[in-house]
Amino acid sequence: MAFKIIVCAKQVPDTNVIKINPKTGTLIRDGVPSILNHDDANALEEALKIKDQYPDTHITVITMGPPQANDLLFECLAKGADEGILISDRAVGGSDTWATSNTLEAAIKKIGHFDLMFAGRQAIDGDTAQVGPQLAEKLGIPQVTYVEEFNMDKNMKDITVKRQMEDGYELIKLQTPCMLTTIKELNKPRYMSMKGIFGQKEMKVWNAKDIEVDLTTVGLEASPTNVFRSFTPAPKGKGVTLEGDTNNDIAKKLLVNLKGKHVI
């Protein structure tokens, strides 16, 4: 049987260019490009590397989002994934991570058997790094987060990974099926290929009914966390520019100032 991999991917606004309306504390979406979340590009790349080695591997990319998240699936298919599934339904809108993982769990149960699941460590918009572990918990499979190196035995069962720690790494062994979250140190994502762009690939859109998810466990209403308020950090007052005839003068001015503030 073909080795089956599921990659969870999220479409996110490019946080390098986003602007927030300081009055309303909401995102100004106009003209902000949507991109494949960085860590998810590494997740897909690792799956593709397995497929490079074992060509009958089957990769399904799954995303929950608005209809335009289709663009993300197109990109992933053009890089070499076999199948893309978008879960899109108003009923799942406004989900927190608990509710998001319930939706993804239901979709993955509908897909059926899989051997390996990759998610990104963290999405650059919500920034929680919670969806991967919560999904693994709900599917009842082991997890390793912060994966920076991946190796799988030829038996397609035994996996060895390096998990990044603050001050080094852990070498961990586990077996499929399992869920791994990926970081940028893991690999360098490839570009889309012409063959991929023009090839025939499968793209599906599922709604809440299709995945038979319990509607009391998804969406804004069901989410245990709620956004109470949102706002922008207060702008810091403009500081002083230190000037002088020589760099030595400037250095002296700085030290006088720091001393005056009692920080040195």
């Binding site: 919670q130 991967g132 082991p142 700085l254 006088v256």
Partner: protein
């Protein structure tokens, strides 16, 4: 796990702190969280306690340190299978204890372990989890004070006399462009991971005592599905960015790896620690453990020297609450120069040696300037 079960909120009491230890040593963030838990407990009620949850094998001796930093109680969970951290065993042990003792709030450090563990526990408890918090409030009045001082939030819609005791958890999102305050109104415990380095430890009270509760976990080998083969520390010491009073950070403006020799010299002179931007890490000039920012460490030193760092939002997200920011940059318009308390427009290779040369004269220079 239907979402429409109603949870009896009043059955949950006290604040738990996951007292993360590695190799028998408490992580700093554990002590910071005990300090923060202590503060929050007082905001909830006089009889709310802060309780450190110590998990491991042979870690009981750490209880005294928890008490000394403000814990009223310690829940000790020991088992040979908890010697090394595994998601499976720690999730089971802590979730089982939560079900028995029903804490109202559980705080974890947002470390590589905390961020692996907390979402798994929250999912098993079917409760909410707020990620990477940088501010916690119980009282609406203290939330209003914080917001007025530090944010653009219009607080006129908040009632300072509101007596609800749900926790308001504030965190950066969208790479630091937006702050959100998250609540968890219907389920318990309320859980958060908290960024290391942002909360205040309490002063140590040597000899302080508290109440010890021993919880016997039921864990079997079969519960654990991973095998830790090896734990490898990088040759360098763990960079203690979060504890540093002074940080000297270098960025792409250093031009090449050897630039960090100057930054190191600078840090040694001022008694500081070396930090970096991600661009410098990506270039291979310095190890990731030095990186400050959204995907690195959050820091709050007394002085942050940003040398050849432009001030991208993801970098600012990790250092903008530093007491004093000094920027040294060729480009007067770089965002870091706008953010800085003291901006020096110039070549870092010319400016830093002068600061090093004059450092020991600071006192005399200051005295001369005030005469």
């Amino acid at each position: 796990t239907g979402g429409d079960e109603v949870v009896d909120l009043s059955a949950y009491k006290h604040i738990w702190v996951f007292a993360e230890q590695r190799e028998g040593k408490l992580m700093n963030v554990a002590l910071e969280l005990i300090g923060e838990g202590y503060r929050l407990a007082k905001e909830i009620s006089e009889d709310t306690k802060v309780c450190a949850v110590l998990v491991g094998d042979g870690v009981g001796h750490l209880a005294d340190e928890c008490y000394a930093y403000g814990a009223d109680e310690v829940v000790l969970i020991e088992h040979p299978l908890l010697k090394q951290y595994t998601t499976d065993a720690y999730t089971k042990a802590i979730t089982d204890a939560i079900e028995v003792y029903k804490p109202e709030i559980v705080l974890y450090g947002a470390t590589h372990i905390g961020r692996d563990l907390a979402p798994r526990i929250a999912a098993r408890c079917n409760t909410g989890l707020t990620a990477d918090c940088t501010r916690l409030d119980v009282k609406v009045s203290s939330y209003i004070d914080y917001a007025n001082k530090n944010t653009t939030l219009d607080t006129s819609t908040l009632d300072p006399n509101d007596t609800s005791t749900g926790i308001k958890q504030t965190r950066p999102a969208f790479g630091g462009n937006l702050m959100a305050t998250i609540i968890c109104p219907r389920t318990r415990p309320q859980m958060s991971t908290v960024r290391p380095g942002v909360m205040q430890k309490r002063d140590k009270v040597a000899g302080a005592k508290g109440v010890l509760t021993v919880f016997k976990p039921e864990i079997a080998k079969d519960d654990i599905h991973v095998q830790i083969v090896e734990i490898v520390k990088s040759a360098k010491e763990m960079v203690s960015l979060t504890d540093a009073d002074i940080i000297c950070s270098g960025g792409r403006g250093l031009g090449d790896a050897s630039g960090f020799e100057l930054i190191k010299k600078f840090a040694d002179k001022v008694g500081g620690v070396v930090g970096s931007s991600r661009a410098a890490v990506d270039a291979g000039w310095i190890d990731h453990s030095h990186q400050v920012g959204q995907t690195g460490t959050t820091v709050k030193p007394k002085i942050y020297f940003a040398c050849g760092i432009s001030g991208a939002i993801q970098h600012l997200a990790g250092m903008q609450t530093s007491d004093i920011i000094v920027a040294i940059n060729k480009d007067a318009d770089a965002p870091m120069m706008e953010m800085a308390d003291y901006a020096i427009c110039g070549d870092l290779y010319k400016v830093i040696p002068e600061i090093i040369a004059e450092w020991d004269n600071a006192e005399a220079l200051y005295d001369a300037s005030t005469k």
